[in-house]
Amino acid sequence: MATSNNAPHTRIERIIVLLDSSRAARVALDAAAELAARRHAQLLGLFIENTDLLHSASLPFGREIGFTSGRIRPLSTADMERRLRQQAEEARRLLAAAGRRRAVQWNLQVCRGQVEAETLAVTKPTDLLVLGRIALARDTGLRFGQLTVRIATTANCSVMVLGETPQPVQRPILVLYEGPETGDRALATAALMARDTNQALTVLLPASADVREEELEQRARSWALRHKATVNFMRLPGADAPILVQALRQTGGRLLILSRASHAVQNPANRSLLDEIALPIVVIP
């Protein structure tokens, strides 16, 4: 499908989903399979056997503290190896089921290493990486919870981060537009997804010191005109995460698409954006 929307930088050839045993990963897998089916793309499941965990388990004092119970249990390499094998097997089973359900080709890649490094090593610019947001990470605020954020902001491909609860399908797809340099690719991806699912597209226009909202709207409008996309506009008082969170709570949407270069992502103080909103987010590199 070589239309103008499928320019090399927006084309999605492969959907990669990072699998683990969490519920969020299952939601992510389902969304990934649906996207793959819609885009006629390949579905690649990625299961990473975390070496940090394996090393930790091999130490003589290796212990595990239960998430909910707080009980301290001994940990052994054999146990950990067995668990990882089981999880990989479970991931294969889930992937096969999702592939069958959506009639898409799928592959499972199991590798051993650190999650972030291994994930980044696998992705290519024409991929879409789908991650489940780890609920626990939000609650505890632990640094490894920001793994998702780190991957989203450093991956060479688009990254979609999903919550555990699916959003109502009738809501529009939202895209944050902060200018043609960062926003055009986000707009293109958003238009593509809106067209795929036959949904309305709302462009969020944040006010900033550099560009006036009217100007932004004008640019987005001319982009839409060029690409024959139907869009609505919504102006925001700023691009800060709290403003965005507030605006999204009021509007409600199905999906938020924004550029990695966006103020809301780049400003380190605002990294919590990804944790704060329940909406699925697609970060465009």
Binding site: T51, D52, H55, E64, I65, L75, M80, Q87, T140
Partner: protein, 803 residues
């Protein structure tokens, strides 16, 4: 003995003189709202409704069509209008025990207002609660609380994380928990690298990790407590906001119902419920079913609304089933399950009539399964417990309710036939306990000048009530005459309203058909004739059969042992008379009288009694000093159905005397009347029909001249004969003879003197009685001489030495 003279035409029919009325048509008459001739029943109704003790419910007795219902309803309505209007009854949810809805009593008219106000309240809550809980204030306070909880957790974890970082220790998340491990350059140390560390460093790592594990454990184990604390604070917030949302609405409500503690309790319960269920109200779903279900529980079900009621209610139920009486609990189906709540309780007539009067037809009541028992139960307990039959008898077990019983205070008025009253009195021990007052309806009233005038006004009122043409004086007179005929008594008038109503409607029809602007005598007569004509198929068939000789009835000549008796056949609402041939035979025998009807099991007990009386009279009169050596038989010829009544006993006696005296009887006469053991003739029923029946046969035979009927003199007041019969009597073509003694009947039928015993104790020679006595003496003599007779048996006893 004087032979009776035939009756004058004037004695056969008591006319009502149209001239005696001082109006032209009934349209001029004032409505007559009194009830004619039912003083006893009305007095009883007054007593029964006035007495305020338990069990003084009423049973109104009388045959169908007499107008019991109209009279009772009219009476009760008049009485109820001056009585206080009963309360409204409302069911509300019982929050503590939802399957036992609570009852609220409110003064008449307040129930519906209460329901509307509750609905209004719910409507306000429907928007006020979400508005409050979706408000910026609530949301940000809630967010703060949750944030605080999150921060508290994050803080605790961060401290551990920082502590771990400080000691070069990694915190790693596994599938089901956390683990700590020493790290170098961002990577966890492998086992061999770790072992390569100096002992001291390793010990330091292990100690630190152990401390971190314990701290993390403490943090994790504290989390439920923190969560609970947060939840408590959220609850407090909810309560505060809910109070803000509903408090002022409820306070306004409370001021209106200070006098009703139950309603105040209900409002408190609503307030508590809102606070407990805030979560359901603030759901994002547009069609918030959970919230609707909660709100529905705050509403009221007005079981009885007396807002429009003036005075006490008077309710008649024409289908008194168990459910109609005590109400029902409906269910609705939800996902295949039958569900109900307090809003589905429906009232019964006991609820509707509570505080007033309930009229029921006892026959209908008894025909409905369990209805009678349910009514008695309610009256005994003085309360209405709404329970379905399946629940009562454990036939079906589904979610149902036990509504709080409604206190019952009413008078039940049962309407029914006398037989049902007597049967219930005899067989149901509860009946007389609960229905202590019996109001017995008169079936007729005296026909006096005054009552005739009342009757005329009543007829006018009925015509007006039914939108019928007014009656002129001849029409009224004819209706009154027919009223006497219906009462079977020229001195009385029927009180059967239905029959009079029907006659008026039909007379109206004939008058309208004839284009008349009023109903006159001829229209009434036409209506009566047509009523008879419509019902006459069977009668005409019988007349035809007699005329053709299929049924043998002679109306001419004389015959031995044969007489025309008269019987009445009742077919539905129509009765007619017909002659029946009664025959007798006699021969030598031992004094036994064979009643063939009885032997064939076609005779009723009263008929048998009549035959026994006549046989004993026979024996006592003619065979006082010797055995009655006679074997006689009596039969109703060509009768194939059950015969009962003693009205043929005079005829039977005459037939028997004819055969004994060997004197033929005139067939131009028919005889009716019963007799006693002294030979007196007693009154019988249905004389009008009987005379008309015989008259019709004679008329059909086309040779009537000296024909007639013998009837008991005591029946003369009952005569209200048809116009053509009266005219035939006037023309001396037909005669009606009143007889007081059987001898008079014998004389008339035989044209021979019956005879009275002279001073010598003997009957005059050639008199009927003399010939009977002679014949019986002969038979006795024959019996004595016959083998096995009295003489022979005496000889045998002598031989055996029995003396």
């Amino acid at each position: 003995m004087v032979i009776p003279k035939p009756l004058n035409p004037e004695e056969l029919y008591r006319r009502c003189d149209p001239e005696s009325f001082d109006f032209e048509t009934t349209a001029e008459l004032e409505p007559f709202n009194e009830i004619v001739g039912q003083n006893r029943a009305l007095e009883t109704l007054k007593f029964g409704t006035g007495i305020n003790s338990e069990g003084y419910n009423l049973f109104v007795l009388g045959p169908p069509g007499i107008g019991k219902h109209e009279v009772v309803e009219k009476f009760l309505r008049a009485r109820a209008a001056d009585e206080p209007t009963p309360s409204d009854w409302v069911y509300i949810n019982n929050f503590a025990n939802p399957h036992k809805p609570r009852l609220v009593e409110l003064s008449a008219g307040r129930g519906e207002r209460f329901r509307e106000e509750l609905e209004q309240l719910v409507q306000e809550l429907r928007s006020a609660i979400p508005a409050t809980f979706e408000s910026e204030e609530y949301q940000s306070r809630l967010h703060d609380l949750q944030q605080e909880f999150g921060q508290r957790q994050q803080e605790a974890f961060r401290e551990i994380q920082e502590e771990a970082d400080k000691h070069d220790i990694a915190l790693i998340q596994s599938q089901s928990g956390f683990t700590f491990a020493p790290k170098r350059d961002g990577e966890v140390l492998r086992l061999e690298s770790y072992r390569a560390l100096p002992e001291e460093e390793r010990q330091e790592f292990e100690r630190t990790i152990e401390q971190l594990q314990e701290r993390l454990q403490q943090v994790i184990q504290q989390m439920p407590r923190w969560r609970k604390e947060t939840q408590n604070r959220i609850n407090e917030l909810n309560e505060e906001m809910a109070m803000f949302a509903v408090g002022h609405l409820l306070d306004e409500f409370r001021t209106n119902y200070q006098d009703c503690p139950r309603i105040l309790e209900h409002l408190d319960a609503i307030q508590k419920d809102v606070i407990e269920n805030v979560g359901a109200f603030v759901s994002q779903d547009n069609h918030n079913r959970a919230a609707e279900q909660l709100l529905n529980r705050y509403l009221a079900n007005v079981l009885i609304d007396n807002a429009q009621q003036q005075g006490a209610p008077v309710i008649y139920d024409d289908m008194p089933t168990h459910q109609h009486l005590i109400g029902r609990i409906e269910h609705h189906v939800q996902q295949g399950a039958l569900l109900t709540d307090f809003r589905l309780i429906r009232p019964g007539v006991l609820h509707q009539a509570n505080g007033g009067y309930l009229i029921l037809d006892v026959r209908k009541l008894l025909m409905q399964p369990f209805a009678w028992e349910s009514l008695k139960r309610a009256l005994y307990s003085n309360q209405i417990s709404t329970e379905s039959l399946e629940q009562l008898y454990s036939l079906m077990s589904t979610v149902s309710l036990e509504p709080e019983p409604v206190p019952l205070n009413l008078k039940v008025v049962l309407l029914g036939e006398r037989l049902l009253y007597y049967l219930l009195s005899a067989f149901d021990p509860d009946f007389l306990e609960l229905f202590k007052v019996q109001a017995d309806f008169e079936e007729d009233v005296e026909r006096s000048a005054e009552s005739t005038q009342h009757y005329a006004r009543l007829i006018g009122t009925m015509a007006r009530q039914e939108n019928l043409l007014a009656l002129d004086t001849s029409g009224v007179a004819r209706v009154i005459e027919h009223g006497s005929r219906l009462a079977d008594d020229s001195e009385r008038l029927t009180t059967h309203n239905r029959a009079i109503f029907d006659l008026l409607r039909e007379a109206h029809y004939w008058a309208s058909s004839a284009g008349s602007d009023r109903v006159s005598g001829q229209h009434v007569q036409q209506a009566i004739d047509h009523q008879i004509y419509r019902a006459s198929r069977v009668r005409e068939g019988m007349e035809r059969a007699i005329h053709r000789g299929t049924i043998m009835i002679d109306t001419e000549g004389e015959a031995l042992g044969r007489v025309n008796g008269l019987s009445v056949i009742q077919l539905g609402g129509y009765a007619f008379g017909r002659p029946t041939r009664i025959t007798a035979t006699a021969r030598l025998g031992r004094g036994n009288m064979v009643d063939i009807e009885r032997e064939a099991k076609l005779g009723g007990n009263i008929h048998s009694k009549g035959v026994m009386i006549l046989s004993n009279f026979l024996a006592a009169r003619y065979a006082q000093d010797r055995p009655l050596s006679l074997s006689a038989s009596l039969a109703f010829e060509q009768s194939y159905g059950l015969v009962d009544g003693d009205s043929a006993s005079v005829a039977e006696f005459c037939a028997l005397i004819s055969v004994l005296a060997n004197i033929p009887l005139k067939q131009s006469f028919a005889v009716t009347g019963s007799m006693n053991q002294h030979g007196q003739v007693q009154a019988v029923g249905g004389v009008n029909e009987k005379i008309e029946g015989f008259f019709d046969i004679c008329k059909k035979q086309r040779h009537y001249g000296g024909h007639g009927v013998l009837l008991p003199a005591a029946n003369i007041p009952h005569l209200m004969l048809r116009h053509d019969v009266v005219e035939a009597v006037r023309d001396e073509r037909f005669h009606i003879y009143p007889v007081s003694r059987v001898d008079e009947a014998l004389a008339l039928l035989t044209d021979t003197e019956a005879g009275e015993r002279g001073s010598d104790g003997q009957y005059p020679v050639d008199s009927v009685n003399h010939r009977v006595e002679q014949r019986l003496r002969e038979l006795a003599e024959l019996a004595r001489r016959a083998p096995g007779g009295n003489d022979e048996r005496a000889e045998q006893r002598k031989d055996n030495g029995d003396e």
